[in-house]
Symmetry: C2
Subunit: 449 residues, 2 copies
């Protein structure tokens, strides 16, 4: 299959980036997108709102790359000079682009703002530019081409705010790049939990190396691994079919000798945005309600579930029972259980899960109790001191009358106290969500959106 053979680079313009006031998420976003389109990117740079330094950087870029992507510095004020500088380097003059100007005035009117003198500056574009209208702000993006030393160079300019950049790229620039390369690209994600990136890499090594269409690339998230399949072809339908076919094959790959079973046992969803979204969608399909009883995770699991739009259909209420006595008073955990086993026990989380289910009449529950900090904890069980390891978390998931409990230790390692806390809490939340998804999967299969 032919490939658009360009070397790309990303240049971000903004003094706020040089001062470290904001993190350059635009560059990471664009880099990921270019990689998915099969475009090689060799440099990323940041320069301030300084036309001399920007010009030097652009001239160097045009010598070593055929596709230069610029973000930022398209605002209406006098120090926004990205477009003006880029036009000089590309040998273009700027003219008023009537359509963009009308759009800008329209946006300002809707926001109840009056047009400033400078606003017209944002509508000045090279006459032969491919214009990308901005649906989330005033500055339009655009692409311009020129011949430099016998090579065709394309420059794409986009606004800096991610809220404007990301939809502009997805809806306008990506199709433009696909069109230039003569192909359509389509990506599909497979969400995996409970098996590390290194092992996934080992299990799929040959497959990933041989894969041409779709390509298979693993990404590491918070305690989860994402496989991204990217297909190229004539239409989205053809590409999606190729991805789904490969996803089916991947599901059945054995995990031996590293783990038992096949990869499907560790897949929480295909093309779902997050574990919590998978869970909410599984529960909604079965008209089931879930509740939460959280100790060390302190509301994190409820928060993750309610991050999902539409969560109210499956989640009516939950508990944060941080102190022992609230586990007893709010969730009817028996005092004997706490005395005998402590709150750090399978028995306690089991009673927390069923207590929460009874209290809000839910069909299933997640309960968590453990030590989030970096230090071991000493409590009492059967009248004797009991040491609970740092990072040791008991998790119970109940569905109807069935309840599974697990004790997992998330070793905080060399992290400082605050990071260790965050690590243990977020890993425990992810583990608990994956456990409940696993139980529900046996009832309704893997989620594919």
């Amino acid at each position: 299959m032919k490939k658009w053979n360009v070397r790309a680079e990303i240049i971000s313009v903004g003094t706020e980036l040089l001062l470290g006031d904001i993190v350059n998420t635009d560059a990471a976003f664009l880099a990921r997108e270019l990689a998915a389109l099969g475009i090689s990117c060799y440099y990323q740079s940041v320069v301030g709102d300084n036309p001399t330094r920007l010009r030097g950087m652009l001239e160097a870029a045009c010598v070593r790359s055929e596709l230069v992507i610029l973000t930022g510095g398209l605002g209406p004020t006098a120090d926004d000079l990205t477009k003006e500088t880029a036009a000089v380097v590309m040998g273009k003059t700027l003219c008023l682009h009537e359509e963009s100007y009308a759009r800008i005035r329209d946006v300002l009117k809707k926001r109840g703002l009056t047009e400033s003198e400078n606003q017209i500056k944002q509508a000045m574009l090279p006459p032969d530019a491919e214009v990308f209208a901005n649906d989330y702000g005033t500055a339009p993006g655009f692409a311009m081409e020129t011949e430099i030393d016998g090579r065709n160079v394309t420059m794409i300019l986009m606004p800096g705010p991610p809220r404007e950049l990301e939809p502009m790229f997805a809806e306008k620039v990506r199709p433009y790049l696909s069109m230039r390369s003569g192909e359509v690209f389509y990506s599909l994600n497979i969400g995996i939990y409970g098996i590390g990136e290194a092992i996934v890499g080992q299990i799929l090594r040959d497959r990933m190396e041989e894969a041409r269409n779709p390509t298979i690339a693993p990404y590491c998230g918070e305690g989860e691994v994402r496989l991204r399949l990217t297909a190229r072809g004539e239409s989205e339908e053809i590409c999606r079919a190729l991805c789904l076919e490969t996803a089916e094959q991947i599901r059945l790959v054995p995990c031996t000798p590293y783990r038992e079973g096949i990869l499907d046992d560790y897949i929480f969803g295909i093309d779902t945005p997050s574990m919590q979204a998978t869970l909410v969608s599984m529960l909604a399909r079965r008209s089931m309600k879930v509740t939460t009883a959280e100790s060390c995770t302190g509301g994190m699991i409820a928060k993750r579930i309610t991050d999902v739009p539409g969560a109210s259909a499956v989640f009516e209420g939950g508990f944060v029972t941080y102190a022992d006595h609230t586990k007893i008073s709010l969730l009817q955990v028996r005092e004997e259980t706490v005395l005998q086993h402590s709150v750090y026990s399978a028995e306690a989380v089991r009673e927390m899960a069923f207590g929460a289910m009874r209290a809000v009449l839910a069909d299933c529950a997640i309960a968590v109790s453990g030590v989030a900090g970096k230090e071991d904890l000493v409590c009492t069980a059967n009248g004797k001191p009991l040491t609970v390891d740092a990072g040791c978390v008991y998790i119970a998931c109940a569905v109807g009358n069935e309840c599974r409990t697990e004790c997992v230790t998330f070793a905080p390692g060399r992290r400082n106290a605050l990071e260790a806390r965050e690590y243990v809490r977020s890993r425990a939340s992810a583990h608990a969500l994956a456990m409940l998804i696993g139980m529900l999967k046996h009832r309704c299969g893997t989620e594919t959106e």
Copy 2:
């Protein structure tokens, strides 16, 4: 006061950055730190693990900057070539640094790993380097100097993982840079809530422009503004005293004509890491317990409170009451209240707050109910349909018998559904924490750590 007059630039090495697999938080961290040290940084770049391209970039950097800071590519494998390439450009040879080698072997031993052939590579350093030991990994950092075209150029190399880089910078590189510049730097943060960055900028404009020591710079966070005072001087004590003196003056600045009162009315803490940390510390000092009753924030406030180490001293339990009936059954909100005013009312959140306090015997409470989505919501009050605006949130804070309620609309604007949800929820959480801090401040004054 004299100033170390260098132009700095930051170069990050790593193919994973070029592919967008990770976001370059190192560059933002270093940029912020350099700015605080008064060192001007004009360029940031990213290049892959490719010695030819890295060499070209380093040669260009040594011409335009006197301080070049490199991160990443210090690992033990053959494709980690940052150090080797930098040494060539700086005209240095690498020799075994015995102390670093002993440390590496020690770290590996503690982790139960055997030394690989390549490990010795990490201990090869220029003989005249200033070595920065790595307390969180194997690769040491270092600084080397040389004369290039009659200019003194310093290159600093540090490992890429933030967990290794950040403490190495804070504990070793920052003092080294302070020493080079012949001064000590000290920063103090002032946390402000309830007044935007633009207005803070207006109120303090003259003061910020005139400030020389300490300098005053505003940073915008999630619904909060941070003022960073940075003093330079002979010792940390002198610098801290200068910062505290300026902080005292800033507190008393009137907010007119933009807002009522003085800036202190909007300051939630001085040198506290977060609003939740301020709240936990205020409550701990007064031996008070807090509880939460959350509807649209769905556990976010409990999560934020329990993010703080030591939260268990002030937080014993909280409720996520997402559905109307759980507000009634768990928090004893009266059915008449819901029928008459709906759950989106000052009356409902007031009853939620007091209900939660009674249920877990807390001294104060935060209760929240509102519409997190992007769409207006229609519910019933007094038997008639009632439209609640998207982003409209009712918040109650109770301390003892006193209860304040507020209705705030966090307009989600042009965000998509998921972003709007996240925005409204996180802003409402911040607002609720600030409200309770405000009520407690009248009892125990502003927090200074």
